[in-house]
Symmetry: D2
């Protein structure tokens, strides 16, 4: 195995035995799509050009407030994390960039750039962290950060964000994502209006430090870690923030950050319409912010989100340029495997959305033929696009079956030997 991910020879050998079946499936699908007026190669090209960023923290095993059960070979630092990300990219060819979280990933920027270059990776949005206290910090974020009642605490949080921008500038990032846990656990604990004013003031200070070619993404979330109110609780508040800050400010949509039953694809459509969709944190969820693997619980919902994205792309919506990132917690799987599968699921939703017959759909919508309109979406969704995804991957040097190839590679076993075992933690409750 090369330093940069998985050895090409291993991938080649892996693919060899699978290519015949893949070609037959690709051809059969191509013929079917041809009958539907779709050129399979054009879809494949688009899929091949599609990428989603890996969050650096995603390659470690996640946990809950009750416990964390680490696996073998947990990454020790950002360089281990980058090595793991390179494996994901070498096998899937769909995850060319990594998104860093500061201070977790703090390191000499020159070394970061060097490592990324060597591994064939780029850097996506920077992520600040003011939902935890950092060793050495003077002020605690127990009662908030950017919206804290205390000006010095806010200042510390602002400076941390500006530091993230500085690091990002040094390593070639072009965006800052701000998610805060600020909120309250009790009615009355916080004055909603003042807290939001303080938050906006802090964000204006950060925005002022943003380079011209950067974007800033704010992320809303209904609850957790605050359990009564959250300062940036929903897309309505998030939209106001982006409006207040200015043209470089956009809203980030994490699929798990909404109230039960909310129609997320519609929120996506509204943000596109008003030029404020910044991008996504992809994951899936059944109950709350479960941070499960993308598409693992409700794959049709993921497709419906991409249906909006492809629609916006096709109609050339003004300012439409969303960032794609996975943001998941891998508690019971190998994080590398989960991230590979999830990157594929996101690409799958994109491929399916590309198959929607948009002329037919529009006609059905105009004539209120609800049944045929929805069947038009379903026809695209139920098409098994696996051959397209696999072919795009293989042609770019990736593996026909990334999980199988990963297991064949012995990578996890090898890093488990190199990296010391990590003890399980008790989560936040003790």
């Amino acid at each position: 195995m090369s330093e940069a991910g998985i050895d090409a020879g291993l991938i080649e050998k892996h693919n060899e035995s699978r290519m015949e079946a893949l070609r037959r499936d690709y051809e059969a699908l191509g013929e079917q799509l041809d009958r539907r007026g779709i050129a399979i190669d054009a879809i494949k090209e688009k899929v091949a050009a599609f990428g989603v960023a890996i969050p650096s923290w995603g390659v470690g095993t996640g946990g809950t407030r009750f416990a964390r059960f680490p696996g073998p070979g947990e990454p020790r630092d950002i360089f281990d994390k980058l090595a793991d990300c390179a494996v994901i990219q070498s096998l899937t060819r769909a995850t060319p960039t990594v998104s860093l979280h500061i201070p977790w990933d703090k390191a000499d920027p020159a070394l970061l750039r060097e490592a990324a270059q060597r591994l064939g990776l780029g850097f996506d949005a920077m992520n600040s962290n003011t939902f935890q206290d950092h060793p050495g910090d003077r002020y605690s974020y127990k009662f908030g950060s950017l919206s804290h009642t205390d000006a010095a605490t806010r200042r510390q949080a602002i400076e941390h964000n500006i530091e993230c921008i500085e690091i990002g500038k040094a390593i070639g990032s072009r965006a800052l994502t701000v998610w805060i846990g600020d909120g309250s656990n009790f009615p009355g604990q916080s004055n909603f209006t003042k807290a939001f004013e303080r938050y906006l003031d802090s964000m204006r200070a950060i925005y002022a430090a943003l380079p011209d070619d950067w974007r800033i993404f704010t992320e809303h979330k209904l609850y957790e870690p605050a359990f009564y109110s959250t300062v940036v609780q929903d897309w309505g508040t998030n939209y106001i923030i982006a409006q207040e800050l200015g043209p470089k400010a956009f809203c980030l949509v994490d699929l798990g950050h909404h109230a039960p039953t909310v129609n997320i694809e519609m929120i996506v459509a509204r943000l596109i319409q008003y030029g404020k969709l910044g991008g996504f944190h992809f994951n899936d969820s059944k109950y709350g912010d479960d941070d499960l693997d993308s598409g693992s619980i409700d794959p049709y919902r993921l497709f419906l989100v991409f249906n909006e994205l492809v629609d916006a792309e096709k109609r050339g919506a003004a300012g439409f340029n969303p960032a794609h990132m996975l943001d998941q917690s891998h508690n019971v799987t190998d994080p590398i495997e989960s991230l590979m599968v999830s990157a594929t699921e996101v690409a799958r939703a994109y491929a399916q959305a590309l198959l929607v017959d948009r002329n037919a759909l529009e006609a059905y919508q105009e004539s209120n033929d609800a049944l045929m309109a929805t069947l038009t979406l379903k026809a695209a969704f139920r098409t098994d696009v696996e051959p397209i995804l696999a072919m795009a991957r293989v042609e770019k040097g990736g593996a026909a079956d990334p999980v199988a190839a990963f297991r064949e590679s012995g990578y996890r076993r090898k890093v488990a030997e190199e990296r010391p075992a990590v003890a399980g933690g008790g989560g936040g409750i003790v």
Copy 2:
């Protein structure tokens, strides 16, 4: 019984036997509040000045899609409804106005004014109806109204709203409330973006017809009657609408129109902060838009909403002037009784919110003393303000116990004799 509600003699007699106990309770509470630095009479004055509008449709028995079980003496027309509203007002002295729904309440404006004057009632916001087809209308709203794909259907819906304004002008209303059922039942049925553009275009036409001294209230709702998407689905979209339309446009908050677990008082705070809170449709709910009696399920939530309102009032929030209306479906109670109790519950929440020690609260918030902050709210909430409500009512000529007085009056029995019995309906499902 006089034409205008309940005979004053009956009320006087009703109150007589209750006054001694009321006075003792009022005094004991006054003494306790005095110790807390609160003048009970000042609270009583504010409560006495507080009013909530009755929706004309609320005095009839409501139903579900499964069935409707009418009670005795169902009002036959708007004049019967006004008579019932007068009863509510004469007993509670807290419901001085009625909100009409067109075309249900269509009648000669002169007669409407005359009846209202005679009964001592005023007219609150007008309500248009494009969620049902009206006999004689050329176009159906089956697939939408203000956002319909067909321009002629939209035009019809616009004209209906303008007609509502015209009627309102003739009877002294000063606001139009627009709630539509437009949305979709299937993914793909509707293009979210185009539908919203069409909606905004239609609303702009209605807004253009609005007199200078009128306000227009738009109402969001997550779902029902549309079960996949709704055009005005949440406060985020509602806020955009109010922004797009202009300074006379405001957002109406119906307490039952949100996703499960959403923090409604925070939405109220945001709308106040951005000068766009138009008012309320008060009711309570446990599951969806259950339209239960105000305060019957979660009285603390109602209090927390009023906590925001009183806070805004005290700090003199710019443009703060919310309209208050009940909007409930009385399926198993006598509508008049439910409306009287609900008006009282809304006033109760207001009175409790007035008791909050706001200086203490602010200090606790500033110092992040979460426990004492929330206990400050709780101290106000758990105060039994019944003596204040009853005293305010009695002093204005109302009944110490409106429900008991209503039952003593025999009003329901009397109208049941005058108004023909109504057969139960099967709801929408058959």
Copy 3:
């Protein structure tokens, strides 16, 4: 068009032009499945043997409490409904039976049997109705039926259910489904314990009237039409009912009758495990009991339910014999089209579940390989089984594309001429 549904010649002609493509898709899929160790013809046989009952009320346009917008050619009575059901069956060959609702479908049993026989239909479970008042009934169900505080009202409801059994016996049904709306809208309105005791007493009386070879299905629902509490609110209560009544009593699962986020497939598994799964009312939902078309919102959830059913079938779970019925409200589509598509979606989920590699799945489960376990399900779910469904349909005399064939047939136009137009209704709220 023949009396029994759609003319065979029309279907034949419809299929002709589609057969070549269908055969190619079927072959390509067959080859792919063969590689996966699955014989496509065996799957097709199972799909061909699968049926789902049509609810008689489903062929009419549904509505909400706000409005109902009828379409052309609404069925006037049970005989029109049976004719519509025959169309569905002739085109899909997957809906051989009809489920009646009394008193809506009351008619001379001999005529019912004759009509069904002529149309090639059978009768599924009988459905009683005590959530509405029936003309001529002495007592109202406004405050409950089988759990009413008044013994005479309960008796009336019991007798109605017994009458349903009698009608069912006369027409060859073998099951009674009991869904009641009993519950409360206010805390305190009902004593939970006494209401449940009364309900059980009533059900015991009905159970006593059940023939030996019949089953009785009770259906739980969290809320609506009652909005604070419902007597049979969830599967826990439903399970107790089935236990209390005896071996002929089973629980019916309506997919839309659960609290938000609840894991329904797990409830299905539990009921199977304890021998009490009676069957299903299939539909889909996003918010509450939306009664949308099966598989239209979350097709993966429907698949996961069938994954449990196929698992139980394969392992020979004791007493496993669930009844399948659609139960949907078609508010904006042609009911016949929606029912055809929904029957297909249910069969699709079944076909996909049959493709699950259960040996592999079990091995992954035993070794806690969560990722490969879930990918094993996904591999089955994402397989496009349309060729299997279509081939099974065509071979049984149905249409390759039932909706297209239906539109080609002109059936709706024809019945619209025969059946008088129906005026829209205002739902339950006015």
Copy 4:
């Protein structure tokens, strides 16, 4: 300050200045209740006899998966925790017992008994922990404990529970509470049926080790830490467990462990009805298992739960003997203060429920007078019972205002000096 909590002299002094106002409020309320036919002293006696157990882990600051922000004076071990519990008891006189969590609270039983005796505390139910890995354990609970696919892991979990019983026997406990995190994060990861069978087998082994005079409580929870399925997911499954195990097995209800919108008081009623209510973990929540302070979000819901309990008590429901325990996560407050307030809130709900006029309520229920029935509950709920709670407390030697007295005592400052500061943690995500 004495070893056992707060110095009596300090409490006496604290109370002195408050007694006059308290006596006046108590008298005024007594007079009002007398008019309602209620003897205030009888209520006070019942409140005085009411107690709720403190969970040992509750006196430490809690956290989320994102972070934990400890406060000053965090308890270092079970003896520090007992000392803190003694403070709570000395000030509130409503928390006579402590519930231990093993292995967190493992210590020499003789020392535990001695410490408890000295502090005037008893021991409530024992709590086992198989949702975390314990240092020294051979097998990991990453993929489950009592339901694990591996027999040796299950055996280890069983033995841990039996050890908890042994410890409990040594210190005078009489119950074991079993909550497990077992479940799955992915569809297909777990076979629902087999997992439940394994769970039941394990529980039978634990049940077999239960002394004759013990009870075993199983606790259901919809989700978290498992985010797709949970083995003991709801009361339906919990009830089956209690049935399967036998007469010493009961269901524990944690108020935060249900799906959104679920009617919890109804579940409580059903479990009482079938003799299987074991007790409660009290807390409050808005979104999920938020573990907020009891009564802080929805105090009326807590009252409605107690309404069922008092109803069962009054009617002498068979086998009714529920255990009461707080189970909360104090993330932003002083845990001692939160626990004191929460114990008071639970007692408040009990006191309010005692005020319900049950004869009147029953009559309204029988006659379906929904409005008066619910007003009967509301009349009890809105009564400010603070004077009763305070008087009961003071008469037993507690503080009129426990939080104020605690702050006056300087206890937190003192233990902060004795106990070393704890660093904040990152929760489970890093």
